[in-house]
Amino acid sequence: MTRLAFLFLTALAGAALAGCDDAIESPDSLQGTYTLWGALNPQADVQSVRVVPVRDTISLGSAAPLPVTVVSVDLETGAETAWRDSVVTFRDGTVGHIFNARLQPAYGSRHRLVVRRDEGGEVSAVVAVPALVQVIRQTVQTSGGLRYPILLPDAPQLNRVRVTYKLTNRAGSPVEVTRPIAGVVEPVEFGWQILLDVALDDEAIQAQADGEPRDFALREIVITGEVASEDWRPPGGVFDIDVLADPQSLSNVRGGFGFVGAAYPFEVTIRPTPCEIARTSFSSSGSVCTP
């Protein structure tokens, strides 16, 4: 038995000296891969896109120039535009590289954004700028509340649709409450429709404006949003931060990660009539509904 134990120890020592790999298996390197974030805006004459180098560890980033050249090509005209790097240090200490170009893409145009690595290879994204669309206010619905339907014919995608209630409190001071649309924002056969249901916002306004809606006079409603490129549609139709954080879930970048879209803002201003206000919990500023 003692001999057996000795042999066992010897065998173990031999195995140990022979060495076993204790290193952690490394994945294929993503060095030289980039993540792109940005949106082309046909209403602006300067475009920006952030280029994030993929790193091996989490870090704040570096201000050192990235070994890349960034250009964009208008796929309709073939015109190429060079983009220039700018370094931004954010409040949390993170360093970002934002490339800018003096460029105003046309509505309905298509562009290819290319990040060319100095050592070869590229990361790219094709961006379709949405066409200019009209914003059509449809007939207000006053049965059982107050709803404002708005149609954007041929809009490929609507993002970040918000409503701002411009109010006046009893002291006469202006108060603004901005929140996501309460109601429906959905694609329809001819584009996208927004249906703002004012009654659904009562509780939110109460919380944000610190008072009951009847304490405020409703002056104006402003709906804002972005008409976005068609591929800017989140999986499942919902912008879920955890789902979209998955690198593959919403990306149009080839050879890298991220998303470069195109969008331009729209705005609809509604000045409710006293009779429309009477359908809500708000008070009207002195005017009386006279049907």
Partner: protein
């Protein structure tokens, strides 16, 4: 007639308890046997040297003068045995136990119950005491159940002289640990919060110390420990993975003795002796860590661990037919598990966890006169407080923001009855548990804010065991109700074994539910904080176990066993997968399977022994969610959780050579799954045109798929050499050793955000001394 002299005159101190027992007996229809019934022989077997109960002693009654059936029984954890249905006549009764001189008496049994208590004297050196159960050890596994003795624990190299139960348990195949820190055990696919641990009937919710070699159960306190790696019978319930039922020693009824030891990781002391000679004993022990004082200094690495425990037990054999014992336990732990150099941004890894267990329990054991029944009543109080917060000093506001607390408290009142019949033993019992669970998490952990819940569990169990020759069949059922929640669980159980000569086949199966769940962030190995919460009504974790095994005792010194197991797990909670590194996350419901095969072999000859354990297992979790479809292209996502160790092997060898005991242990474990990161970037939530100049974004992990890669294999060798020096009135034990003898860089945790690794202990030379008074 060798009745032990354990005969205090009165039981007046526990009238209420006695009353409860008799109420229970009456309720269950226990009746006195008629005068014409056969005889029952029952009693307790104890150690004559110290009066402590002897477990596993064999009592064999052989009829004298003519033919007749030889009948026998072995003692349980109380030293109790019972042989029922003996024809009234004269018998030769032999009582024997490994390491003790056998005793032979002649008894004339008449109809009715005959109590026969025996005190066995320890064998003298050189005396022949060969017993059939001399092998024991890890190979003697019976459908998931392994009985662990103090000798088993002491056979494993340990960083201190005394040894500790957990240091042995982690050597068993099927038991996966988080490493040498953290105190987390995963048993046959289960998670740490699915294990149930008892000390003398007191639930201990987190008994494992923050340094993985230690638990609340030093070998010196241990009488025996039953580890059910699954398939446990109906007397246990409430958890879905395993049961570790520890019975402590009762203390010396004859004389006072004590021990003291010091080693690089702990210093300990214990004392035991009679409160009143031969009538009541006490046992007290205390341990405190010396890691920061000794080990950390010469290892040269920060080991910010502090832990300790105190234990006390008073044992009072009131009469020859009753026993009363009171046990109390307190443990405390504090430590930073993760990377001690973690940056401020990596808050999770710069945390310090601390937890304390408190337990008090009373057990009253009674043999009612003339009724072949063993009855016991348990009262227990158990409390766990756990807290995690920043390790470094931060502002009070920041501390309040980051600190999280959780606690669990339980008060138990239960009774157990064991009815002895000729071919059957019926165990039954009832219980009421009052639970309080609470958490203050500030929404930073699993989206739980503040929670405080009180609820009761009540129920009963039935577990008859029928014997037909070599076949034992024990079907059972446990019924548990949570009246406030309107929940009830009916859990069928089955244990069976067939023994024929050296062969034993065993089988166990059962359904298990767990109303109280512990929620941990298993994505981070360094996060051992657990928040307890009542499982939602329709999401009570549930498991089905099936175990089948074969044991061959080839000779009286060699034994091998092989055992297969399969568990299905439903309504588990796992952290939702997200590429955004953050501490909080939502929970996903998951189901799972655990399957495996354990092979064990043990050889014991003289003072040498060798054990080989190999385990092959597979654990798979499945989540079904619409989100999976969006993330992975399929609503069903299957993965190997972080504790799925496929291959595991342990070899333990010890021998006594030239006055020195040499012990070695080699352990191997294949790599554990983890979510390998391909890289990191910044994530800007793309719900609209990004504000590039003001939004820095959030750090993001670029995964392939969660748990898609394996960490390196684990292996190490521990060696100790021990010698005992007899002194005039004491024994001095000196132990030297090497932990991780060939300095393997075994990984404890790998921070995928910084690519920093935290390794387990490097090679650590140890030197411990221990003094035992004679």
């Amino acid at each position: 007639m060798p009745y032990p002299s354990l005969r205090p005159p009165s039981t007046r101190c526990v009238p209420a308890v006695r009353f409860a027992v008799f109420v229970a007996l009456a309720a269950l229809g226990a009746a006195r046997p008629a005068a014409a019934q056969p005889a029952t022989l029952r009693g307790f077997v104890s150690d004559a040297a110290d009066g402590q109960p002897l477990i596993g002693a064999n009592v064999v009654a052989t009829p004298l003068g003519g033919d007749g059936e030889v009948r026998g029984a072995s003692t349980d954890t109380d030293g109790f045995y019972g042989i029922v249905g003996l024809p009234p006549r004269r018998y030769a009764v032999r009582v024997s136990a490994a390491g003790y001189t056998a005793r032979l008496d002649t008894l004339a049994l008449v109809p009715g119950v005959r109590s026969f208590d025996v005190a066995l004297a320890p064998a003298e050196l050189g005396e022949a005491v060969v017993e059939a159960d001399a092998v024991g050890g890890s190979a003697d596994i019976d459908a998931g159940l392994q009985r662990i003795s103090p000798e088993d624990v002491r056979s494993v190299p340990s960083p201190d002289v005394a040894g500790d139960l957990v240091n042995y348990v982690v050597s068993l195949s099927g038991v996966v640990t988080s490493g040498d820190r953290g105190g987390q055990l995963f048993i046959r696919g289960g998670e740490p919060t699915q294990n149930q641990v008892f000390l003398d009937g007191i639930p201990v919710f987190q008994p494992f110390h923050v340094l993985g070699f230690y638990s609340a159960f030093p070998a010196d306190l241990l009488q025996t420990a039953d580890l059910y790696a699954g398939g446990y019978d109906a007397s246990y319930g409430g958890q879905i993975s395993s049961v570790l039922d520890v019975t402590s020693r009762t203390g010396n009824l004859r004389r006072v003795s004590g021990t003291a030891s010091v080693a690089p990781f702990v210093a300990s002391a214990s004392i035991e002796g009679p409160v009143v000679r031969d009538r009541a004993s006490f046992l007290a022990s205390a341990r405190i860590s010396t890691v920061d004082l000794i080990a950390a200094r010469y290892i040269g690495a920060p080991l910010p661990f502090q832990f300790g425990d105190v234990f006390g037990r008073v044992y009072y054999p009131l009469t020859a037919k009753s026993r009363l014992s009171l046990t109390a336990l307190r443990t405390w732990d504090r430590g930073g598990i993760g990377d001690p150099d973690a940056s401020v941004t990596a808050v999770a890894r710069a945390e310090e966890v601390n937890y304390q267990n408190t337990g008090v329990g009373l057990r009253y054991l009674l043999l009612p006169s003339d009724v072949p029944v063993l009855a016991s009543v348990h009262l227990a109080y158990a409390d766990l407080n756990t807290e995690v917060g920043p390790r470094a000093a931060v502002s009070p506001d920041e501390d309040a923001r980051l600190r999280r607390r959780s606690g669990r408290r339980r008060v138990d009142a239960a009774f157990d009855l064991t009815y002895l019949f000729r071919r059957m033993t019926l165990r039954t019992g009832g219980f009421v548990y009052t639970n309080l669970i609470g958490s203050e998490l500030g929404g930073q952990f699993q989206n739980i804010e503040t929670e405080r819940t009180t609820f009761a569990e009540a129920g009963f169990y039935l577990q008859p065991e029928l014997t037909f020759g070599g076949l034992r069949v024990s079907p059972g059922v446990r019924v548990t109700s949570l009246p406030k929640q309107g929940q009830a669980f009916v859990e069928p159980r089955l244990r069976a074994a067939f023994e024929a000569g050296p062969h034993r086949l065993s089988l166990a199966a059962g359904i298990y539910n767990q109303p109280v769940v512990g929620v941990s962030d298993r994505r981070d190995a360094t996060s051992v904080f657990t928040a307890y919460t009542l499982a939602p009504d329709n999401l009570t974790p549930r498991a089905t176990h099936l175990i089948a095994g074969y044991r061959l005792r080839a000779t009286d010194w060699a034994e091998v066993s092989v055992e297969g197991f399969a568990k299905t797990l439903d309504d588990l909670s796992v952290a939702e997968f997200t590429a955004v590194p953050r501490l909080t996350t939502n929970l996903l419901s998951a189901s799972g399977t655990a399957r495996g095969l354990d092979f064990r072999a043990e050889v014991r000859r003289g003072r040498a022994q060798m054990t080989v354990n190999y385990g092959l297992s597979s654990v798979e979790y499945t989540t079904v969610s619409a989100r999976n479809d969006l993330q992975f292209g399929d609503a069903t996502f299957r993965f190997r959780p972080g504790h799925d160790r496929r291959h595991q092997a342990t070899v333990i060898a010890s021998a006594y050579v030239a006055g020195v005991t040499i012990a070695t242990r080699f352990q191997f474990g294949s790599g554990l799954p983890y979510s390998r990161a391909l890289g990191f970037d910044q994530y800007l939530f793309p719900d609209g045109s990004p504000d590039l100049y003001n939004d820095p974004g959030t750090a993001r992990v670029l995964y392939e798929r969660p748990f898609n890669a394996l960490l390196p294999d684990y292996h190490r060798l521990d060696v100790t050499v021990e010698r005992i020096f007899p002194l005039r009135s004491a024994l001095l034990t000196v132990q030297a050793g090497l932990l991780n003898a060939y300095d393997r860089a075994n990984l404890f945790a790998y921070d995928i955000f910084t690519l920093r690794r935290v390794d387990q202990l490097p090679v650590v030379p140890t030197l411990g001394i221990r003094l035992d008074t004679r």
